[in-house]
């Protein structure tokens, strides 16, 4: 009886070994996905609205703004939900010099609909319109997510100074200068804000630093 059990186990072991050798090693490996490319073109179906969107962008890069805006309008007629396309159209209008139209489009967007780039664009448009009080919170919202963007922080500092919020502006300038102590242009602007806030001695000190 015991011998029979051993015999069964041995046969099982033999077949297990056989199966391991013949089905594990020599089996053709699954080919790594060789490519995403498909010769027929069926693998990459591009809906018309996507192609048109890319066309609108290409036209804007080619500075063919009228045509670009016209394509954006066609896209938005078909897909009014495309907030990003709306923002891009506003940007093209801005480049075209149609700042009021651009601002009107952006104002139709809810704050939670706008991405960071749109917020910046909207803030820039408010600056052009000298609506500094509207621009500052947008720059701040952007900086909450991108605190290391000194360019945007500089814009915020400038806007605050033009709005006569000198202390808040100086605070932003100091933050930039901590990161970029050798930036003479930023230090000069900082010095001017110090002068506007009647802190002449400090302003003179800062200006001296820019002359070294």
């Amino acid at each position: 009886m015991e011998q029979r059990v051993i015999a069964v186990l041995a046969i099982f072991l033999f077949f297990a070994g056989f199966l391991f050798v013949h089905f594990s090693y020599p089996c053709a490996q699954e080919k790594p996905q060789a490519t995403s490319a498909s010769p027929s073109g069926k693998g990459e179906e591009i809906p018309d609205w996507v192609a048109r969107w890319e066309l609108a962008r290409a036209l804007s890069y080619a500075k063919r703004y009228d045509e670009s805006v016209s394509e954006y309008k066609k896209i938005l007629k078909e897909r009014p939900d495309l907030v990003k396309a709306k923002t891009e159209m506003a940007k093209v209008l801005f480049w075209q010099g149609k700042k009021q139209e651009a601002a009107a489009i952006l104002e139709t967007l809810k704050p939670d609909q706008t991405d960071d780039e749109s917020k910046l664009l909207m803030a820039d448009l408010y600056v052009v319109q000298k609506s500094y009080k509207k621009a500052a919170p947008l720059y701040r919202a952007y900086l909450e997510k991108h605190p290391g963007n000194h360019g945007v922080r500089l814009k915020l500092a400038e806007v605050l100074s033009w709005d006569k919020q000198y202390e808040a502006s100086l605070k932003e300038y100091r933050q930039i200068l901590t990161a970029l102590p050798e930036d003479i242009q930023v230090r000069r602007k900082y010095a001017f804000v110090l002068m506007w806030s009647k802190r002449y001695d400090e302003a003179a000190n800062e200006l001296r630093k820019t002359l070294k």
Binding site: Q3, R4, I6, A7, A10, I11, L13, F14, A16, G17, F18, F20, V21, S24, Y25, P26, Q29, E30, K31, P32, Q33, A34, T35, S36, A37, S38, P39, S40, G41, K42, G43, E44, E45, I46, D48, A51, R52, E54, L55, R57, A58, L59, Y61, A62, R64, E67
Partner: protein, 158 residues
């Protein structure tokens, strides 16, 4: 006694079969090993094995494809392009290979080469929307916006 002998014989036979397999089918074992590295994204370990197998001309076309993919996934686009060029030379009828090459040239920033590839593919298949969109995108990346716009209009049938 007879059963014990049979048991020992079977055990020895299974061990010998496995050992013989590993000895005589070494390339298969290496192939499998490289495949395991590939699956675990250890491309730098898979590449020399695929290279070795290629020198032995073991499953050449398939190994080239694996090697090209390994180079691509490890970010070595220059070598990936070289490998896919070889594949293209061996299997010129495989339509996906030029597309792959175009894609690699695009990723490498060599847009002009990609554009040439897409243009030649479009000569054979002018209605291939997928290739035309790739061409348009490469043209945008190359800064040829007017030509890109023309291609997009063709895609839209305008």
């Amino acid at each position: 006694m007879k059963i014990s002998a049979a048991v020992i014989f079977l055990i020895i036979l299974s061990l010998v079969t496995t050992a013989a397999y590993r000895f005589f089918q070494e390339d298969w074992v290496l192939y499998r090993k490289a495949g395991d590295y590939f699956e675990h994204k250890a491309y730098s370990k898979a590449i020399p094995i695929y290279d070795g197998l290629l020198k032995k001309r073991f499953r050449e076309t398939e190994i080239l494809s694996h090697l090209g993919e390994s180079y691509e996934r490890s970010g070595d686009l220059t070598n990936a392009i070289e490998v896919f060029k070889k594949i293209s030379g061996k299997t010129p009828s495989d339509g996906w290979v030029p597309l792959k090459l175009g894609e690699l040239y695009d990723r490498k920033g060599d847009y002009r080469q990609a554009i040439d590839i897409y243009n030649s593919l479009l000569k054979a298949q002018p209605g291939n929307r997928s290739v035309r969109i790739r061409l348009a995108r490469s043209l945008v990346a190359a800064g040829d916006f007017d030509e890109a716009a023309k291609q997009y209009r063709m895609i839209l049938g305008e």
